[in-house]
């Protein structure tokens, strides 16, 4: 199983819809795909996949992932959002955060070729625990936006990912066209100077609520 982190130094850049669309795109190729929502504090994948209020199941000493079928593409899914009441605040200390991550990563019967991990932003507890657990065996796409704040946050994130030997396959510059174009070229060049492939996704508000896996061919190719 190859883990693929969909990560970013900044929140709100579109990691979750990119994760789900990438999962669907890979599954439509016949690849066995899992999606783990590692955003414990603000999970949304269960809403994207309509996998709310699920009952946990067990097989052997493993938890069974939920099975999601989107247009014939089957994806295995697991995230905290499916099992906690809607609106309940998540106030996890580090110990419980780390334990949740270990449970989702190691004690779920994923049985997939690729596990896409939708992460929270930045180098907070969840991501540090994930990076330690993955021991440099992960690939990543880093999601950004074409503005300087996102660049600043992502430069730090890229540094952390490289520190943990994560194979960064591409920067996905999301929401292109939404922001001022003044620094767009400079931002793209800043990523390229780090030796990173830049994939641009045009701003598309429908992407927040609709699946458009056909837009992710380039991202697919980058992670495979």
């Amino acid at each position: 199983m190859i883990p693929i982190l969909v990560t970013s130094g900044k929140g709100g850049v579109g990691k979750s819809p990119i994760s789900s669309n990438l999962a669907i795109a890979l599954a439509s190729r016949g690849i066995r795909v899992g999606l783990m929502d590692a955003d414990l504090m603000d999970p949304v994948q269960h809403l994207i996949f309509n996998a709310d209020k699920e009952t946990i199941r067990e097989y052997g000493k493993s938890l069974m992932p939920l099975s999601v079928n989107i247009g014939g593409s089957k994806i295995k899914f697991m995230g905290i959002g499916s099992f906690i009441p809607r609106g309940a605040g998540v106030a996890l200390n580090y110990e419980k955060t780390a334990d949740f991550i270990v449970t989702l990563l190691r004690f779920v019967r994923w049985d997939v070729d690729y596990l896409i991990i939708d992460t929270p932003p930045g180098s907070e507890d969840v991501n540090m625990k994930l990076l330690k657990e993955l021991e440099g065996n992960a690939r990543a796409i880093v999601v950004g936006e074409p503005h300087v704040f996102a660049l600043e946050d992502n430069l730090r994130m890229i540094d952390v990912l490289r520190l943990y030997d994560v194979d960064i396959r591409a920067i996905v510059l999301n929401k292109v066209g939404l922001f001022s174009q003044e620094f767009a070229q400079a931002i793209e060049e800043a990523y390229q100077k780090l030796g990173l492939k830049v994939i641009k996704l045009q701003w598309d508000p429908a992407l927040q609520t609709n699946f458009k896996p056909e837009l992710f061919k380039e991202v697919e190719e980058a992670v495979l």
């Binding site: 009952t55 946990i56 199941r57 067990e58 052997g60 000493k61 419980k96 004690f107």
Partner: protein, 133 residues
């Protein structure tokens, strides 16, 4: 055990025990591994503790009182204030939410993460609280 704690528990214990014996088979369909597990449930208030051992003995589901200071071995231990326990049973507080808020502590003795046990326990408490409605 203080009079206060015993009094609170007396209101729910008979139903709890009945549930445990009558509906364990349904839970086993969802969690067949439960036969290999056991748990100690520790409830406390300001001045005292009470503990129950839950598991299988001689192939039969068993719930019995055990010494909270030296409980019978179990694969996991769950500890909560008796008020939290009653709120969960009354469906006034979701078990998972209580865990996330540090109102419930779970320790593991079998190598599985406490979160894993919490998720299994949450299914148990969902059924328990629903059956007591």
């Amino acid at each position: 055990m203080s009079f206060n704690l015993r009094l609170k528990l007396l209101t729910i214990l008979p139903k709890l025990l009945n549930y445990g014996f009558m509906q364990f088979n349904d839970l086993l369909k969802e969690f067949p591994e439960a036969k290999t597990r056991s748990a100690v449930l520790i409830l406390y208030d300001q001045s005292s503790k009470i503990a129950f051992w839950i598991g299988f003995e001689n192939g039969k589901p068993t719930i019995k009182e055990t010494d909270p200071k030296n409980p019978q071995f179990a694969t996991n231990t769950i500890t909560m204030h008796v008020d939290t326990f009653i709120k969960v049973l009354k469906n006034e507080l979701d078990f998972r939410t209580a865990y996330l808020y540090d109102l419930i502590e779970i320790t593991s003795s079998d190598g599985l993460p406490p979160t894993y046990h919490m998720l299994i326990w949450s299914a148990f408490f969902d059924k328990l609280s629903n059956s007591l409605r």
